[in-house]
């Protein structure tokens, strides 16, 4: 791992268009500003790992479609039948 020492306001550039800037440090934490192209996803590591874990578990559950249907609350099934919503329905602004 590359280790660099930086002061408040100083930056680190990673490749083209990715810049980490130290905005504030102290009290056991560091506030970092990140400038990067929009197509790059940037997340807190622990949050990313939790979402990853959930996705992997969800994909495993997809093989148990019958179990999924057994677990569905009856009130939801009634709601779907009565709503006319389709699976691919698009969201509209303000909903």
């Amino acid at each position: 791992m590359l280790v660099l020492t930086r002061k408040n306001g100083e930056s680190i550039r990673v490749a083209d268009g990715i810049i980490f800037t130290i905005l504030e440090c102290g009290k056991g934490q560091v506030k970092v500003g990140i400038s990067a192209p929009a197509h790059l996803s940037i997340h807190r590591e622990e949050v990313y790992l939790r979402i990853r874990e959930e996705n992997l578990a969800a994909a495993q559950a997809s093989s148990a479609v019958q179990a999924l249907m057994k677990g569905v609350p009856k009130s939801l099934l009634k709601l779907v039948k009565g709503s006319g919503h389709s699976e691919g329905e698009r969201g509209e602004p303000g909903q």
Partner: protein
């Protein structure tokens, strides 16, 4: 998708609910899978599956956020919309990823990281929400609107 059922009726036939969508960043856990298609079965409504076109064995069960409480649409930022090439919410379909505990039979929805698909550009992204009241494992039963809500 490993449905072991031998039912071959039209009710249990997998159909495409929407055309292929491109996920430029993949999905957490499936970063190398970029192309997905939404598939559904009549007997599985209201659930649909986001199936990888790179590996059809990979499929995530979803439900449209529009059917449920805790709407995320008002909280989606312009930056997040730009990830699917949209300047507004028009044409945006939001979904929660579902997880089922086969032992307990409990279904939870990941309201913290909904999947959005732009029906116009056919681009998709799993976005992360900052709102404190959203959870990765919200029991589905908590999200069902009461009769007063509908």
């Amino acid at each position: 998708m490993g449905d072991s059922s031998q039912d071959t009726s039209a009710e249990s036939e997998w159909i495409e609910a929407a055309g292929p969508a491109h996920f430029p960043a993949g999905l957490p856990g499936f970063e190398d899978h970029k192309r997905y298609v939404l598939v559904s079965r009549n007997d599985m409504r209201p659930f649909i599956w986001l199936r990888s076109m790179d590996d059809p064995e990979v499929a995530l069960p979803l439900i449209s956020c529009l059917l449920l409480k805790k709407q995320v649409l008002p909280y989606i930022t312009k930056e997040q919309l730009s990830l699917v090439g949209s300047p507004s919410l028009e044409g945006i379909a939001p979904y929660y990823v579902l997880r089922v505990d086969t032992g307990e039979g409990i279904i939870t929805a990941n309201t913290k990281a909904p999947i959005i698909i732009n029906s116009k550009t056919k681009q998709g992204y799993q976005i992360f929400m900052d709102q404190e009241n959203l959870r990765v494992d919200e029991p589905l039963v908590n999200l069902i609107p009461s009769s007063e809500d509908t």
